[in-house]
């Protein structure tokens, strides 16, 4: 059994992790830049592609870290992640959207500043986390899974339903002691049409709060004058948003690794290993599980806000359970139980499995002059009658967005067969605060972990 004790984590492990993260990110970015060169992108195109990659690395890294708190640390099998994400962004939209009247939006909001909206979204996600967890945490892991996925579907039905599409807000609300006049007149979840996010651009709101907006605009016009002449602002916005997301990932990482090392985190790990023992040692495991679940749900809400807030609009179909499973695959690639692993899993998932197939298709199409793809599988197979595999290949390339999910499924199966502890091998942090390994054995376990199939073998 490999043990990463506290002592080890401060020393070699930490440096090794930094090297690993830098190496993986470097490899991903290099691959994308090379692909960009192959496509003949100019600087603008390259920056755009990098911004896109950074965005997905950021969001998947963040969500995988949040899930790691649930599954990796506490052993709570939550497959309702997308529900908490949806609650986060919908509440943010509801609170921060300007009242109806300005713009094309059919449904308005309360017009409060964006940071209030974000705070409300995170709190709402935490509240629903509590609501789910209070009854459901008593259940077995597989039951909890089914309850959480059912919860996320109920959230999606609620977003889609006409019942919550619009509400009319009265001009004055009298609350017992005081009354106030909300600016909003129509609010709601927008039904199947979703919501247009016509609040302040989140990047602008953030930079204004930091008094960096004017310097940033100056930088943009500098770039426009000297480097990229045709409207560089969207590209730079994208890059900067990616950097903000990476900072967010860093904060998530700090928070979670501090939590993990704290006495609180050690109890969580003890619950993961054996809840009965933790209980017998006098820990109120239900309370600990509840706190961990609520904290993780809040982080998922925040992740959802950061994921969708810079989009122009949100619609209910974005919040299908598929997103949840993407995040699970990311976590399992990296290895549940390790924060570095979670982030790396998120990055690898984003770069290779999520965005990679599309780039591969574009590469092939750029390299070879290919005709039009057949419209359906039958026409694709018809080529084989004359021993011509081309229609099939073209159809396969054309369907890469579906085959991507097939590949994800196969990768997940492969991982569960061969690397259930994640690509990095056995990295789970133990519950104890001292190094449990006998002298000498602890160090040897830190070698590359190919030989270590996990403790259950």
């Amino acid at each position: 059994m490999s043990v990463d004790g506290i002592r080890g984590r401060f020393g070699g492990i930490f440096e090794r992790d930094v090297t690993l993260v830098v190496a993986v990110l470097g490899a991903l970015y290099l691959a994308y830049i090379l692909a960009g060169v192959a496509f003949g992108y100019g600087l603008r195109g390259q920056l755009n592609s990098i911004a896109n990659l950074t965005f997905y690395i950021g969001v998947f890294g963040m969500m995988a870290l949040a899930l790691n708190l649930h599954w990796g640390y506490t052993g709570l099998f939550n497959i309702g992640i997308v529900g908490f994400m949806g609650i986060g962004i919908y509440v943010t939209a509801l609170v921060s959207k300007p009242p109806v009247g300005d713009g094309a939006a059919q449904v308005g909001g309360f017009g409060l500043p964006l940071f209030v909206g974000v705070l409300a979204g995170v709190l709402a996600a935490a509240f629903f986390g509590l609501l789910v967890a209070l009854p459901a945490l008593r259940l077995r892991a597989d039951y909890l899974a089914i309850v959480t996925v059912a919860f996320s579907e109920i959230v999606r039905f609620t977003m889609m339903s006409r019942t919550f599409q619009t509400f009319t807000v009265p001009d004055t609300i009298d609350l017992w002691l005081f009354s106030f006049d909300p600016t909003a007149d129509t609010v709601g979840l927008g039904g199947g049409g979703g919501l247009i996010l016509n609040y302040t651009n989140p990047l602008e709101a953030l930079l204004r709060a930091l008094f960096l907006w004017d310097p940033y605009l100056g930088f943009v016009s500098f770039v426009e004058a000297n480097v990229i002449s045709n409207n560089p602002k969207p590209v730079l916005d994208g890059l900067l948003y990616g950097i903000v997301l990476l900072i967010g990932v860093g904060l998530f990482y700090l928070l979670l690794s501090r939590t993990g090392k704290s006495p609180f985190g050690r109890v969580l790990k003890a619950i993961r290993e054996d809840e009965d023992v933790a209980n017998a040692l006098g820990k109120d495991t239900n309370r600990f599980k509840l706190t961990a679940f609520v904290l993780g749900s809040a982080l998922m809400g925040l992740g959802g806000i950061l994921w969708y807030s810079s989009r122009g609009s949100i619609t209910p179909p974005s919040f299908r359970p598929n997103i949840t499973f993407f995040i699970w695959i990311a976590l399992i690639i990296g290895g549940a139980g390790s924060n570095t692993g979670s982030f790396l899993g998120g990055a690898i998932f984003a770069g290779v499995l999520y965005e990679g197939p599309r780039y591969f298709k574009n590469l092939v199409q750029a390299a070879f002059e290919l005709g039009d793809a057949p419209r359906n599988f039958g026409e694709a197979m018809a080529g084989f009658a004359s021993l011509d595999p081309m229609p099939f290949i073209l159809y396969t390339l054309d369907s890469v967005s579906q085959l991507r999910l097939v590949i994800m499924g196969v990768v997940l199966i492969w991982l569960m067969h061969n690397r259930p502890e994640g690509l990095l091998g056995h990295r789970k942090e133990t519950a104890s605060s001292v190094d449990l390994a006998r002298s000498g054995t602890g160090r040897s376990a830190e070698k590359p972990t190919a030989a270590d199939g996990g403790e259950n073998q």
Binding site: L139, D142, F151, G409
Partner: protein, 396 residues
Amino acid sequence: MTEHGHVSVVNVLRVDFTRYSEECYHVSLSETYGRYRRTLSEEPLAIGVILVALWMAWSLASGLLTGGIRISSLASLVWDGLLRGLIIGLAGIGLSMTYSILNFANFAHGDYLTSGAFAGMGTSYLIAGIGENSVGALLLVGAGGSVFGGALGIGVTTAPLAVVFGALVAGVAAIVLALAIDRFVYRPIRDESGIALLITSIGVAFALRYLLQFVYGAGVRGTTASGSVPRVSVPAIDGTFRVTAHDISLIVVAGGLMLGVHLLLQRTKLGKAMRAMSDNEDLARITGIPTEEVIRTTWIVGAGLTGVAGYMFVLWKGTLGFNDGWLLLLLVFAAVILGGIGSIYGAIGGGIIIGLTASVSVIWIPSAFGRAAAFVVMIVILLFKPEGIFSGRTTA
């Protein structure tokens, strides 16, 4: 295992807890009664559920009395829910069996159902339309709008042979698929925990579902000549509700298969072997039960029923899309949990309750929340009676 000192303590504790939980099962009647009384006083949720139930009963009664809810439309909803429930129950038998014997929640089960439906519908298309259309387009169930089920006259009265063979092929295809997946995916990790298997099954579900989309396309297609299906209007007190030939064939097929499974498990030792396996697989093996063979039989029975359920579902609702099984899966889970995992009667009963809930609940709540209501029923059951409402009765 491992060399650390605290592990032995863990084992001692675990033994104690096991014994403690075993003792908990043997509670006497008076204790059960006392527990219910305590539940009522201590659980605000329970009181809430009872209040909601009372409100629903009152609003239904007053609606019927004042004429706000017509009896005929209620009958129509009940009929629809019953049929839906039969499909859920039929698909649930297989899920319930594998859940109890292999001890994991198979998230790919819904996609077995879709695979069966596509294979079966392809066969029906082929039989009904051979000669006039290309075989490929027929087998692909008219991918890309090349053939239309309505034009082929798919229906139990218009093309009975095509429907019978379609249903058979649907079952066989699902069996072959399930056995192949079990051989290559689940069997190598048979001894892993239920959660590892569950995660693996999510991978299987993804791969299967999007392979189906790759082959058959993303479009939802109409599969039956719905205009020419015979129908009768059954009189209810203040109106009528409609019963079609496909409703009847669904009842016949589902009822027949359920009876067949019942007889299979009663008349053969399979049921007993399955029960023994779900209790303790190692013990079952050393008492001479060929566990791998039982597992294979379980997959054959379960997947066969699921494939046929998928075909009958598609025939009944008249449309087919690659997402159908996945969308049904959570309802099937709800049914299985409601009925108690491992009990086929529980799966059938739970399926009918879930189907009725999803359909009839639109009397009280907006129709967008029909499925949500079924999930809520499942969650409530999990909270108060996690062993299911038919608790104690496992397979056969």
